[in-house]
Symmetry: C2
Subunit: 215 residues, 2 copies
DNA sequence: TGCAAAACTGCAACCAGTGAAAAGAAACAA
DNA sequence: TTGTTTCTTTTCACTGGTTGCAGTTTTGCA
């Protein structure tokens, strides 16, 4: 089944077997084919039958790799969340809450920037897709929300005595909520990556120093 | 069509015509019937056919009142957003950004608390429903996100010289993001309304005074 | 080579959602 | 009241995502 991102090795040996390699190839074919089709003819206009045919599997098989049509687009979400949570889990000595949160944000951006995972260079296409398709936007927000919950729990776990669970949630929610909304607004006009970057930074500064520093 | 919440009057006279009254009754029947069915047999297990039958209309007619199955549950969203945006629009003289945001939050809570709109007393049922059904949760997040965008624009409009559009977005996103996530975490255990209220307050204080005041 | 597990296929069924044409009901004018 | 116009609902047919199931193929391994 495609539910595990990390390859399950055949045995104690390090080499993935034929079965695993085939599965990875099919998975990648589904992802790349789907994104290409979404780009060419639009998300709604692309049917699962076409996606499956593109990867030379049956429609039914699609669903043993992804739980839904939307999910192909978010193939790397689990991985990204894992990195964030892991980053929180290995708290540096003497690190402050804010320091840790910034480290998480930075790592996440780095990861996003250097994406090679699945020979996949159309990150921009994906962003455009998610921004324009309501169904994908809803799914993205749901996944992001879920990630925030996980991160809040991890943060509470990293500072068990200093932060209550609800305070940890408030912190994560405020930081990511601020960044998310300001980036979204900024994307309504065409902007360069650098612009977006600095807007995100600015939003995190606002969250950290507090809204009272504004008007 | 059911797209307008406010009744379109027949003429210059104040009385809504028969047509309008019937539509309101049908709308209410759909809402109440749907929520009752969702409660009794679960959201996924309830079909549109059943909902429509409960209100004695055809399945097709359901879709001239609501755009989707999910949307019945969020029948009052437009109204709530309108209040929030209107509250922002009539900025008080000498009001600060933070002061205004707090006023919006308070008004919104008031409105939620005093809900009588459609002889509808099962607000709690609805909350439980949204919290447990993934499809509804995704829709809720999408609607909330959209509301935040509108509020951010309104805020920028209210303080055009003091707040850039992206800063306004950062403010709204941080405040609502913090409240949302902490309330959500708090709801994982059973809590009283008062508890939730004070947790929300605490989250807004954190966002206002800044994350740096934490760890 | 043979067996068990894993993966894939085809098929049937369900249900949300949409388009179009026809029927029904209400509003309006004469 | 009657005829006309406009809005609403119904009926019907159809698409497409999603799932369960039963059977077949492929792979891993002894």
């Amino acid at each position: 089944m495609g539910s595990e991102t990390v390859a399950a090795e055949t045995e104690a040996s390090g080499a993935p077997g034929l079965r695993e390699r085939k599965k990875q190839r099919t998975r990648q074919a589904l992802i790349e084919g789907a994104l290409r089709l979404f780009d060419e003819k639009g998300y709604e206009e692309t049917t699962l039958a076409e996606i499956a045919a593109g990867a030379e599997v049956s429609t039914r098989t699609f669903f043993s790799y992804f739980a839904s049509k939307e999910d192909v687009v978010f193939f790397d979400t689990k991985e990204r969340l894992q990195l964030a949570v892991a980053t929180i889990a290995d708290r540096q000595p003497d690190e402050t809450v804010v320091g840790m949160l910034l480290r998480v944000i930075n790592k996440s951006f780095e990861q996003a920037a250097s994406y090679q995972d699945i020979t996949f260079d159309n990150a921009a296409l994906r962003v455009r897709l998610i921004l324009t398709e309501p169904a994908l936007q809803a799914r993205a927000l749901h996944l992001l929300f879920d990630s925030q919950l996980h991160m809040a729990r991890a943060l509470h776990g990293a500072f068990p005595d200093r932060l209550s669970d609800t305070d940890a949630a408030a912190a994560v929610g405020a930081l990511i909520g601020g960044i998310k909304l300001s980036v979204m607004v900024s994307l309504e006009e065409e902007r360069s990556i650098e612009d977006v970057w600095s807007i995100a930074r600015r939003a995190s500064e606002i969250a950290i120093s507090g809204l009272h520093t504004l008007g």
